[in-house]
Amino acid sequence: MITDMLKKSLNKCRGYADLRHQKRDTFAVSVRDGKIEVLSNGIVEGACARVLVHGSFGFSSTTELQKRSIDRMLEDATSLAEASKLKKKRMVELASVSPHVDKYQTPTKTDPKKASREEVVAILKNVESEVRAFSKSIVSDSVTFNIIDDELSFVSSEGTEVTQRIVRCSGNVMAVARETGSIASASESIGAQAGLEVLKDTPLSNAGMIAAERAVKLASAKVAPGGFYNVIFENKLVGLLAHEAVGHCSEADLVYSGSFLADKIGKQVASEKVTLVDDGRYPNGYGTMKYDDEGVPTQKTVVIEEGVAKSFLHSRETAKYYGVKPTGNARAWDFQFDPIIRMRNTYIEPGDHTPEELAEGVKEGFFLKGGGSGQADFTGEFMFGTQEAVRIVKGELKDSLRGVTISGNAFDVLKNAEAIGKDFIMRIGSCGKEQTAYVGMGGASLRTKVLLGGAR
């Protein structure tokens, strides 16, 4: 057993040390324009050591898994930690946690290990031909499906010993439509932390139809105008807002650097309709884990309650610094990275309005649809892409325009959140903060104001 080998190596460590091992088994299929473009299977396996000596961290990783390489890795990490201590003013200390010995596995109905690869290929082939058959304007499309099956072990010099198997399945459909001289693409994704039942519970063909319909509609549409407008964020965009624009400001490492929420605990930072949560155990959430990568149990953390800032997201290091308990937010993308503070499943709790009721409150504005990518500064300033902007005139939905990037300060957007819908949805996401992390992002449609960076 790899865990036993890691434990043996740990015996030799000086100071605090943790060792992680990961075996990531991936399966990927991509069907593009009627042809199988990718059919791949991969196994990436490795280990890493993180050592804390005299207030300083050192980290080392390797894909060589013999005892000798693991010992060498631990030695490398230790000497790195010792080398940098002279250059540091801030001494790292870790909040204490009681050691856990535990096992966890993503609950799955259809374990991907037993999946028939032929069946998955056949489903994708079908969806792909449906999308292409949707309209003559569709010139190209692709349907992809990925299984990522992680086996994770964590052992620490404090006696924690946790193994977890986290299974994630996700799919995406992309359609490209062309009209004379213009081209538009649209995409839609599905996915969850679950087994192959994802393909039954959220059929890829539904995602395919949304993408196909949108690409065709937008191929001949104009670009939305620029300016400051009353808008409704579709539920998919609200998840992005919760994560990207607000959530990052609550990450304690960014708080330390002076993020927007740094001095706001106990203060009103959003409309009282807004409650924002980062939940490490949301059922089937893409960012769900029972323990984070420091071996700390995850929990449901309320960041903003009825508009008032309540808590930050912590690692053991920042929890010690701020004198609170760790929240289980220290995560690492893989064995090549040390854990840093990341969100898990971040969402804004739903309200009780229907989308129609939300639109009724808008005289002139847009219903913004389709999550694109997003970025934000820790000041709360954000930007993200939208796929489609449906014009609203006197409370009624009109024509569709090509979506543009929207921007503003998240806390202004949330102060202006006048009404929240009941169409809650939890989606999958991938966040980049030096390293990638799979996260869940959730919310319901929401009425507010925002700047559209569109045409004039």
Binding site: G42, T63, V176, S182, S185
Partner: protein
């Protein structure tokens, strides 16, 4: 053992298993990096990574498998996995073959630096300290937020059933620093700078520190201006993201063949202003994307893509080239052994003009200078919109003040017809493009 021995072994084993053709790509990467977080050295990392990716073809059906071990047993398991995936795949009638061996050019000058390859954590820490000290010395209002300095040493080998066997190594140094400036309770937006180079000698952490600090201070006290359509000077990184990325997508032969490129039938036609010349040079000395061969073992080359505004060539890997009965341009690259080769630029260079940035500024009566773009660019249609960060307002040929909550939007394929001037200060960006500052007209500038 030579790296190519592993790829040879894998290819032979696939053939033994009954593959019509097989290809193996082995890679090792050593990374030494130092991470700055909250103004302090947070972590140092030493990472050792290796792996092999195997393409097996049987009856025009392709399977791909990879593993992070070159241990014989695990490598053979990956070969069997690739073959078994090929058996459940569907035949691709466009498949001709893996590339045939060709004589390779000499390895481009200056892409492997022994000093960088031998560097230890101490050297990397000193790069960080130099950048840090320079930023702090620039102005007392400057605070360093985070940063990362990495030294990578890559080795790769590729073999296939037709006798392709190539092996090479290179080094890459990448460093970045994020600063903010604080004054009287105000915090500037985060300003980031970077440098990227293939050798320690050409890498300047001081420049990273100074430029990041300069940008942070310059973005204090922002003011808004009313929306207008007009001139924008795009910094190299911004020009690369906004203008060059859609071009890269459009010159990709695979996109061209699948009608995903607006330039599908535009070869020989004028697509941009006459002062725009674009070259992909896989053999550029000291080039960050240079190599004598691509990830399929095809020789890298220099390809003239756009000459004086006229579209001349697309970029090919061997699959897309075979489809048109052409030769691959040596652009079948892959970022890692775990990926299939796909058409990627080597070093895409926009030919520099003659004017410095300050000369470009002096030519603008009303416009903006954008040093950072945070937004979305639609590769196929060329539409872009996003926030202009570290952006300044220019009037009467002078920078007046920095801008607050300003967005820019437009269309890359239109914008390259409205390029007024291309600057002289060309620099490599992290997506393997070499771009100078560019002065472009008819951009939409939107503010609240």
């Amino acid at each position: 053992m030579k790296l190519a021995n592993y790829s040879d072994q894998a290819v032979q084993y696939c053939e033994k298993l009954g593959a019509d053709e097989a290809e193996a790509y082995v890679q090792t990467v050593q990374t030494i990096e130092v991470v700055l977080e909250r103004a302090e050295i947070q972590n140092e990392r030493v990472k050792k990574m290796q792996g092999i990716g195997i393409r097996a073809i049987k009856d025009k059906k392709l399977g791909f498998a990879f593993t992070s071990s070159v241990d014989k047993g695990k490598m053979q398991e990956a070969c069997r996995s690739a073959l078994s995936l090929a058996s459940v795949s569907l035949p691709n009638q466009d498949w001709v073959s893996l590339p045939e061996p060709q004589k390779l050019p000499k390895s481009p000058m200056g892409i492997f630096d022994k000093k960088a390859a031998d560097a230890g954590a101490e050297e990397v820490i000193s790069l960080v300290t130099r950048a840090y000290d320079e930023a702090k010395a620039y102005d007392e209002r400057v605070e360093i937020d985070d940063g990362k300095f990495s030294v990578f040493t890559y080795q790769a080998a590729v073999s296939n059933s037709h006798g392709v066997e190539a092996e090479g190594k290179k080094t890459l140094l990448v460093g970045s620093l994020v600063c903010v400036a604080r004054e009287g309770g105000e915090t500037s937006s985060a300003a980031s700078e970077y440098d990227v180079s293939t050798s320690l000698k050409d890498f300047s952490p001081e420049r990273v520190g100074r430029l990041a600090a300069e940008k942070a201070v310059a973005s204090l006290k922002p003011k808004a201006v009313a929306s207008f359509d007009g001139k924008c000077i795009l910094d190299p990184t911004v020009a690369s993201a906004v203008l060059v990325q859609p071009i890269i997508s459009s010159i990709n032969a695979d996109n061209v063949q699948k009608s995903r490129s607006l330039w599908s039938n535009r070869l020989g036609q004028e697509v941009a202003v006459a002062n725009l010349t674009l070259i992909d040079d896989g053999l550029l000395s000291k080039g960050i994307g240079s190599s004598s061969f691509d990830s399929e073992g095809v020789p890298c080359q220099k390809t003239l893509v756009i000459e004086s505004g006229t579209l001349l060539n697309f970029l090919y890997d061997s699959f897309s080239a075979h489809k048109e009965n052409k030769k691959s341009t040596g652009n079948g690259h892959r970022a890692a052994y775990s990926q299939l080769p796909s058409i990627t630029v080597s070093n895409l260079i926009i030919k520099a003009g003659t004017k410095r940035l300050d000369e470009l500024i002096s030519e603008v009566d009303k416009g903006i200078l954008v040093k950072r773009f945070s937004g979305n660019v639609r590769q196929e249609s060329g539409e872009f919109s996003g926030i202009a960060k570290q952006a300044s307002y220019i009037e009467g040929g002078e920078i007046k003040h920095c801008l607050k909550e300003t967005m820019i939007s437009g269309n890359a394929f239109q914008a390259i017809k409205y390029i007024i001037e291309i600057g002289s200060e060309i620099r490599p960006t992290q997506n393997q493009t070499y771009v100078p500052p560019m002065l472009v007209d008819k951009m939409t500038i939107v503010s609240k």
